[in-house]
Symmetry: C2
Subunit: 205 residues, 2 copies
């Protein structure tokens, strides 16, 4: 039986999700990102099997047909998806898996992996969210307003998640994310899997 | 409605519980020990209302009769107990409360405070447990064996707890305890209480 836990991490645009996850993976042992499958071409420096599993559209759609993917989406004409097999391989090593997906994908994965835990990251205020969305470049007010509207739409879904992390202070939020992983490794259920022989040895009269 | 969480921390003798809790309280904000009531005399330096609430036996037994105590016990002829009122006062400030009690007390408290979370601390092995029990002084082998037997009896109850922390490395165990508190403050349910207006403001279109 697997001893790792699948974590879904979602956020509206501008919440700081990707930076948080990058830092989290640097400081937390025993957790890995799931490697997605995609039909888009590999960019320079991208390694097949590490950054993505690069496959052609026929293979991808065949996989969708066979139910191989926990979730999949089409972005700008390219398919992206997370294969259940890729996730299970990591979980079976006793390693936690992180899936960085949107709330729509999170809904799909919850149905297929009921043991997963999901985390939603939020900005500390609407003003800060707007500032972060503006900070990205020199976009027009119209573009910013549209992006802000999209983020606020996404935020409506926070109550579908198990945990809500408000990303006010970056380092504190990394610690909070780390705490969620560590705490869940020490639940009775997890400890019975992770430290079976130690527990049996201690309780043995 | 209260926003703090009541934590029960129990352990067999020799697991290192008291040192861990002392260190935890130094490093974790927003958590306090519950102040117990007792019928024993105050020792020098002990402050009424801080270390204990010192009361006489009649008042104590009256409280027991009225159901004022979450748990109580008689140790060497003195009564000790945790008043529900003392705990609720802290919880209502949004502060987490720690109760350091044995597994028997934990059973009583779980019935009366179903929202509580309980943590059991274990030594990393029976050999280490024996070493720690010996380390306490110059007790005879018989006394050590009896104490070890008692600890192993207590260990049987680990599966009644929500979390099991194996105290191998002291600093790591403090971090793990801290993680449990922090993670539980970020569950959806807690965040809806702790950050109600922030969440409403963000989701407001």
């Amino acid at each position: 039986m697997s001893t790792g836990t699948l974590y879904i991490i979602s956020a509206p645009s501008g919440a700081g999700k990707t930076s948080l996850i990058t830092k989290l993976l640097e400081t937390l042992e025993g957790a890995e990102m799931a490697v997605s499958h995609t039909t888009r071409k590999a960019r320079e420096g991208e390694i097949d099997g590490k950054h993505y599993h690069f496959i052609d559209a026929d293979t991808f759609l065949n996989g969708v047909h066979n139910g191989d993917f926990l979730e999949h989406a089409n972005v700008f004409g390219n398919h992206y998806g997370t294969a259940k097999k890729s996730v299970d391989e990591i979980l079976n090593k006793g390693v936690d898996v992180i899936l960085e997906i949107d709330w729509q994908g999170a809904q799909q994965v919850r149905d297929l992996m009921p043991g997963c835990l999901s985390i939603f990251i939020l900005p500390p205020s609407k003003e800060e969210l707007e500032k972060r969305l503006r900070g990205r470049g020199t976009d027009s007010d119209d573009v910013i307003a549209k992006r802000l509207g999209q983020s606020v739409d996404d935020i409506q879904h926070y109550s579908e998640f198990d945990y809500v992390v408000i990303n006010d202070d970056f380092d504190e939020s990394v610690e909070t994310l780390k705490s969620i992983f560590i705490a869940n490794r020490t639940t009775l259920e997890r400890q019975k899997l992770r430290n079976k022989s130690l527990l049996e040895g201690l309780a043995n009269k």
